[in-house]
Amino acid sequence: MITKPIDLRADIGEVLLDEVAIQAKILELGAQISADHTDRPLTLVSVLKGSLPFMADLMRAISVPLRIDLMEVSSYGGTGTESSGLVRILKDLSASIEGEDVLIVEDIIDTGLTLNYLLRYLRGKNPRSLEICTLLDKPARRLVDIPVNYIGFTIPDQFVVGYGLDYGEYYRNLRFVGVLRPEVYTDQA
C-alpha cells in the first residue's frame, strides 16, 4: 500500500525534464505530426491515465483536423504471488477507427508489454494506419521491440514521475518529469 505523499516536490531527487523543455518538445512533435498528416484527418488515441496531460498539450500543438478518443487497460499487479489474470480493456474506444489514420499517444514506453497488447487489439479494429507517439522512451527496459514513430525524449533507466506519470497514483500533477527519490519507494516496500 502506497502512503499519501506529504510534499510531492520533496520526494523528487532530480528534475529530469522541466516544464519549458516538455512544452518546447511538444510543439516540435505537434509540428512534425501536422506536416506528416496533411491529407487525411487523424484520430488520436490516448492511453489513460498517464498520457492525459501529454494528450491535452499535444492535440493543441497539432494544426490538422483531428478527433480524439480515450482508452484504458488494466495494469499488472496482483496481490502476493497469486495470478493477476489477464490484461483487460477498462475503457474502450467510443467510436470506430475502421479506415482511420490512428496515432496512439503514450506517456512512456518501457517494457512495451502494454503497447504490444494494445497494438494487437487496435489492429483488430482495422484502422487504415496505426502510429505511435510517446513523450518518453526508456529503451533500456524494452522487452518487446515496437516501432515508435514519434519520440519526445529518450530517458535513462530511472523511475520517473510527474506530467501524468505516477507512483501509486500520486505525482501525476507535477508539471515536470522527475526522478523519484529511491527512499520513497524502498521505505514502502
Binding site: 499487479g77 493477476s84 518501457d110 516496500a189
Partner: protein, 202 residues
C-alpha cells in the same frame, strides 16, 4: 567439468536437468549440433495464454512471476524449450550448455532471468557472450536483478522483490530420502576427466 559439477550441490534442480539434457546432445560427427529440443513430458513447459492448468516447475520464484506477467499481457512463452551447447570435450560431447529461461515465439526472443549473486551474474554474462559468438542470430535479453526490481516497482509490487530475488527466491529442491546418488538426481556420470575444447568452426 560439467556445468552441474561446476555449480556445486546447491545449484538447484535446473542445472542438473540442463546438464542431463546436454549429455543427450552428443556431437559424434564433429559438426556443430542443432539446438536441442527439450523433452520433459512430465513437466509441460509450453504455455499459451490463458495459461494451462499445469505449470512448469520453475527453478526460481522470479521466473514464475515473469510467467504471470507474460500471461497477463498475453505474450506466448515457453519455459526452457531449447538448449544451446557452448562447450564440447575432445570426444565431441557437450560439457556445457545454455538453456534460456523463456522463449517468446511471437517475438522471437529468449529471456534469461539473472536475479542471483553478482558472481553468478558475471559467469552468466561470460556464457552469454560465448552463446552469441556461436549463435549470432540469437536474440537474448538478459534480465538482471535490477531489471526485475524495476519491473516490480512499476507494477507496485516492490515488496515482493526480496522474497522473489536472490537465493531466497530459489525453489527448494525436492528432498531425496536415502543416499543421494547420481541417478536419484537425474545425472549420468561419464568416465574420465572432461576437458574444455573449442568447438570447430560451424
Amino acid at each position: 567439468m560439467t556445468q552441474a559439477s561446476a555449480a556445486g550441490p546447491g545449484a538447484g534442480r535446473r542445472s542438473r536437468r540442463a546438464a542431463a539434457r546436454t549429455r543427450q546432445a552428443g556431437r559424434p560427427d564433429g559438426a556443430l549440433p542443432p539446438v536441442v529440443e527439450q523433452e520433459v513430458p512430465e513437466e509441460p513447459s509450453r504455455a499459451i495464454y490463458p495459461s494451462p492448468v499445469a505449470r512448469p516447475s520453475f527453478a526460481h520464484a522470479s521466473e514464475a512471476e515473469m510467467a504471470r506477467i507474460l500471461d497477463f499481457y498475453q505474450v506466448r512463452w515457453e519455459y526452457e524449450p531449447h538448449v544451446f551447447p557452448v562447450v564440447w570435450n575432445l570426444e565431441g560431447a557437450v560439457v556445457e550448455s545454455f538453456a534460456p529461461d523463456f522463449w517468446l515465439p511471437d517475438l522471437d526472443l529468449y529471456l534469461e532471468m539473472t536475479t542471483l549473486r553478482q558472481k553468478l551474474v558475471r559467469k552468466k554474462n561470460r556464457k552469454l557472450r560465448r552463446v552469441l559468438e556461436l549463435y549470432p542470430d540469437l536474440r537474448v535479453k538478459l534480465f538482471y536483478a535490477r531489471d526485475f526490481r524495476a519491473l516490480m516497482l512499476k507494477f507496485g509490487k516492490l515488496g515482493l522483490v526480496a522474497e522473489l530475488s536472490g537465493t531466497s527466491g530459489q525453489v527448494v529442491p525436492v528432498r531425496v530420502d536415502g543416499p543421494v546418488t547420481a541417478s536419484t538426481i537425474g545425472l549420468t556420470i561419464e568416465p574420465g576427466p572432461p576437458t574444455f575444447e573449442e568447438p570447430p568452426e560451424p
